[in-house]
């Protein structure tokens, strides 16, 4: 049960934004739902590589996990008014109570312009031998300037393959961002989350 829950935590908190930011840029990211607290900090050592740490706390059991993230931008296509990316993702960590190890690896692809975004992320989790696919299609009805608040409506679809069975979930998400601050709220009645992220 916990492993399913833990997989959900990783999925919800890893698909919210670009996995690598500007050179020497730092990212602080906090996510909370009724079940967990998740705090991340990362540094982009180059414009292609971000390394970071993450603390997860199960609010019900008080268990805490410490992880290291390693994100690599394999290829970026910068075009007039659009951008596309391919990233490789990995993370390793421990349960701070019993030293149980956890690890994941994945590939992330996205394309976006000022009003549309599509994203696909496929990840493998070694500790429960699970494959997870996350797909996002997003639309922003308004093109706004650098200093204004941008709003996005996101359809998030998730498929998990685990123990020879598939599970599916659809989640509508609202994303707001202004300059270097991003806020996301998602809910489908059964599952919900809240996320805040800043770059500096």
């Amino acid at each position: 049960m916990f492993r399913i829950f833990f997989t959900l935590i990783i999925i919800f908190s890893s698909v919210s934004a670009h996995p690598v930011i500007f050179k020497n840029g730092k990212v602080f990211w906090i996510t909370q739902n009724p079940s967990f607290n998740d705090i991340r900090f990362g540094v982009s050592k180059t414009s292609n590589w971000l390394i970071g740490g993450r603390i997860l706390q199960d609010r019900k059991t008080d268990e805490t996990f410490a992880l290291m993230n390693n994100n690599y931008l394999v290829k970026r296509w910068n075009n007039k008014n659009s951008q596309a990316n391919i990233y490789l993702l990995s993370s390793v960590g421990l349960n701070t109570e019993n030293s149980e190890s956890i690890a994941s690896t994945g590939i992330h692809g996205d394309w976006e312009n000022r009003q549309f975004m599509v994203m696909e992320m496929l990840e493998y989790y070694s500790y429960n031998n699970a494959w997870v696919s996350n797909t996002r299609v997003a639309y922003s009805p308004f093109k706004v300037d650098y200093s204004k608040t941008s709003a996005w409506f996101i359809a998030h679809y998730r498929v998990e393959y685990h123990n020879d069975s598939y599970s599916y979930m659809f989640l509508p998400v609202i994303r707001l961002f202004k300059k270097n601050y991003l806020f996301e709220l998602g809910s489908n009645g059964k599952n919900s989350f809240l996320s805040f992220m800043t770059h500096f």
Binding site: N78, Q83, V144, D145, Y146, H199, F200
Partner: protein, 139 residues
């Protein structure tokens, strides 16, 4: 008489101004400024890194624009205020944009009353493609 004095003062201080075109938008460029077309700059959160990158350089005039940098995501350009005393290397400007994760396709620099246009060649390397454009004030 007053107008004549103002005109004389402007000419005496050598203030120059020109217009450049990026994605069909005409942009006014003044002495000690740079304007560049930036590819892939699609959101404000992405563009934030550009301002951060230039804030750490030693050639930006922070009295202009917002700490020396103006970003227009619609027209996909960035405008910089440059210190008059700085020895401007166009490659340094492009490096800041690349470190933020983007590419420069066109760069204009107006200094010493000379407008120079740079473009990237087939290998993606920045090359000057037109010099001293200030006589006709166009690109």
């Amino acid at each position: 008489m007053k107008k004549a004095i103002i005109l004389f003062l402007l000419l005496s201080f050598g203030l120059s101004q020109s217009k450049v075109s990026i994605q069909d938008k005409e942009i006014e460029i003044n002495e000690n400024e740079a304007v560049m077309e930036v590819l892939g700059m699609v959101c404000s959160m992405c563009a934030f890194g550009i301002g951060e990158g230039f804030s750490k350089t030693d050639f930006i005039d922070k009295s202009k624009f917002s700490d020396g940098v103006s970003v227009d995501i619609d027209a996909q350009y960035v405008q910089l205020g440059l210190l008059e005393s700085a020895n401007i290397n166009p490659e340094k400007i492009v490096q800041v944009i690349q470190d933020a994760g983007y590419d420069v396709s066109l760069l204009f620099i107006l200094q010493n009353d000379k407008l120079t246009k740079f473009g990237t060649d087939k290998l993606g390397i920045l090359q000057p493609i037109a010099f001293n454009l200030t006589s006709d004030r166009s690109n």
